[in-house]
Symmetry: C2
Subunit: 390 residues, 2 copies
């Protein structure tokens, strides 16, 4: 594994990083969630990369998507086989250059990667929350991230950046705490889920809840998890992350380890085998209740409803950030027209907006894949904002 | 219900119709399926409308899609609330005019609407086939339809018509029995499933097979059916039958019987409620094993692999029919480019082909919905072919 250390020296990875924890909202001062329910204590798992400069003007907050975590870049130890989920973008000399910027990422609440979520212990019962974990919103996620920044002493972010559900958090940041974000990069995201996006999430949730092992959400004590339902949910997700083109190139109608049809219900096609594998692998690392909670938060997210009395233009009237909005041609989960709606509403508020639709065949997943165009856009945008501020 | 009778007089419905049955392939002369397995006796449920003319030159074979049946048009009795699934197209004075043509439709084998399928009794065991029902193909479906036509004494069809999986059967008819189809109308269909279409089917199948009540396919004796899994499978299907646009117009983000979010996992949005309803309703009328078998047959269908040694042009070299190929702009399950591939291969064989892409917002479902353009296209095409032949 010394290869990675060499990479570090060459400026390819941030190297070894550490997951940290911050606990707050202790009773009786619990956070009141948007649903009205009280939650506390709350723990956030987070990581930081690079160095905060003296005037604390170089902080970039990265916000992760549905199944992401605080581990954006680097490795936990020398045996670690895989770097963080956006190691291609965050590191020395990369799009978000850790030689210049101080990068922060926290696992969202409701998740299962160290932050408080349905798998955490409910202090009232001493048992895992399970089905008793309150429904959380994108607004709640952002409000607890603000507490983390307060604790880190950061009063203004150079930028907030994230894709998909991370992008929703970016938008929420800009209208909820307009003075705290000098700039923002919502990538492959939307101001509100379409009926189609809600439909996919709902079917995925139904697949989990149809699994008898889900047991009304109370499965952690029984020891039997709704793995089959969660695997189906993940398979549905994977279809929406790709595109017709990407699937045709990646799999087409190629058969899996055979020359002829099996004439049974085993995985004949590579695409079937791929989906089954993704489903099975996912249940090892993700919690079914977290999947339910995070998808519900994404479906509820509606910037114009929550911040603009039904008008997206009005919602952005509070924002002050300079924006870089990015969509991808083959993303049919959050198609370009939804990014354009964002851009239009921003422009009507005379906000400084750059917009780019990147030609990419990989569907919604494109924002997570190596893409020189995206890296250079982000790099240039951050440089410009940093220069203007200093 | 006398309203319907009046409609009959006005030429709006074919009126009262009857489901008939034809049984053949009795042991020891069972049909050998494409998988190599023997199947027999085989029963087909079928219906006919209109009158076969003296020289038997006015027969139109209608082929149904995944969850359809032999009941294309009309009513079974005066209490019947709903007409057949394509009553808008088949009837006196309609696109397929039963005053002129003799229309035949049989339920596909592998189905659950009267034809032999996984729910039928296996003569070897005296129990329902369940998981022992052999995997069938689109080719098998067409071969047994041919037996029905032989029995009806029809040696040449004026036309074969069908959408989706019905359209696959249309294509199979034209290359397998080229002398039997004077014309053919494959609607909203494809010569082979894309990886995306296979992916959706596979996830739907996994949802069924993940349901413990599926019990390896052997659930009919236990009395507990995989209703939850089948409902999820149907929900996945319904997403693919609509389109982003259609869903936005039909549901948008409207809430179901409430003004605010529930902050729980009930159906907040109308689209959620719709999908749950469709799932629940479906399990009352459809068999989970039939769903598995028919989707597998559709995934296996590959005209160029089975009839053209890998070339679609070669596959159509056997065809003689005059074609009307129709696609719909918002159909993302079988997009227009797949219909164009058909048309190109037909034209390279100098076949007489008309092609029309119909502007429609309803996604794949469009071919089943009232559409004046489609009705008049089909009507005109049939008239032309009938005139040429007589």
């Amino acid at each position: 594994m010394s290869e990675y250390i060499e990479h570090d020296r060459d400026g390819i990875s941030v190297g070894l990083v550490e997951k940290k924890f911050f606990t707050f909202s202790e009773p009786p001062d619990q956070l009141i969630l948007e649903s009205g329910t009280r939650l506390g204590p709350i723990t956030l798992a987070y990581e930081t990369y690079g160095t905060l400069n003296r005037d604390k003007s170089n902080a970039v907050l990265v916000l992760h998507a549905l199944t992401g975590d605080s581990h954006v870049a680097g490795y936990y130890d020398h045996q670690d086989q895989k770097p963080g989920w956006w190691d291609i973008m965050v590191g020395p000399g990369k799009g978000i250059d850790t030689n210049k910027y101080f990068v922060i990422c926290s696992n969202i609440i409701g998740g299962c990667m160290g932050s408080t979520g349905p798998g955490s212990i409910d202090p009232d019962t001493g048992q895992p929350f399970g089905c008793n974990f309150p429904v959380i919103t994108i607004g709640d996620m952002v409000r607890v991230q603000k507490r983390l920044l307060d604790k880190l002493g950061i009063r203004r972010l150079l930028s907030v950046v994230g894709g998909s559900i991370g992008g929703m958090q970016v938008l929420e940041w800009c209208v909820r705490y307009p003075d705290m974000a000098a700039s923002a990069m919502p990538l492959a995201t939307t101001a509100k889920h379409s009926a189609l996006a809600i439909a996919f999430n709902e079917v995925a949730r139904q697949a989990i809840m149809a699994d008898p092992s889900w047991n009304g959400g109370d499965y952690l004590r029984s020891g039997k998890k709704p793995d089959l339902g969660l695997a189906v949910a993940r398979m549905i997700g994977h279809i929406t992350y790709l595109s017709d083109d990407a699937m045709r190139r990646k799999f087409g109608r190629r058969l899996q380890d055979r020359e002829n049809f099996s004439y049974d219900f085993s995985a004949d096609f590579q695409i079937e085998s791929y989906l089954r594998y993704q489903g099975t692998k996912f249940v090892e690392r993700f919690d079914a209740n977290s999947f339910l909670h995070i998808t519900k938060a994404a479906d509820y997210f509606d910037l114009e409803r929550q911040h603009g009395e039904g008008s997206l233009v009005k919602a952005f009237s509070k924002a002050k950030a300079e924006f870089l909005v990015v969509s991808f041609t083959s993303d049919w989960l959050y198609p370009t027209y939804q990014s354009k709606d964002l851009v239009k509403a921003m422009k009507k508020n005379r906000l400084d907006v750059s917009f780019c639709e990147i030609e990419a065949d990989f569907g919604h997943d494109a924002f997570l894949l190596p893409n020189k165009r995206l890296s250079s856009l982000i790099c240039g945008f951050l440089e410009g904002v940093f220069k203007d501020l200093n």
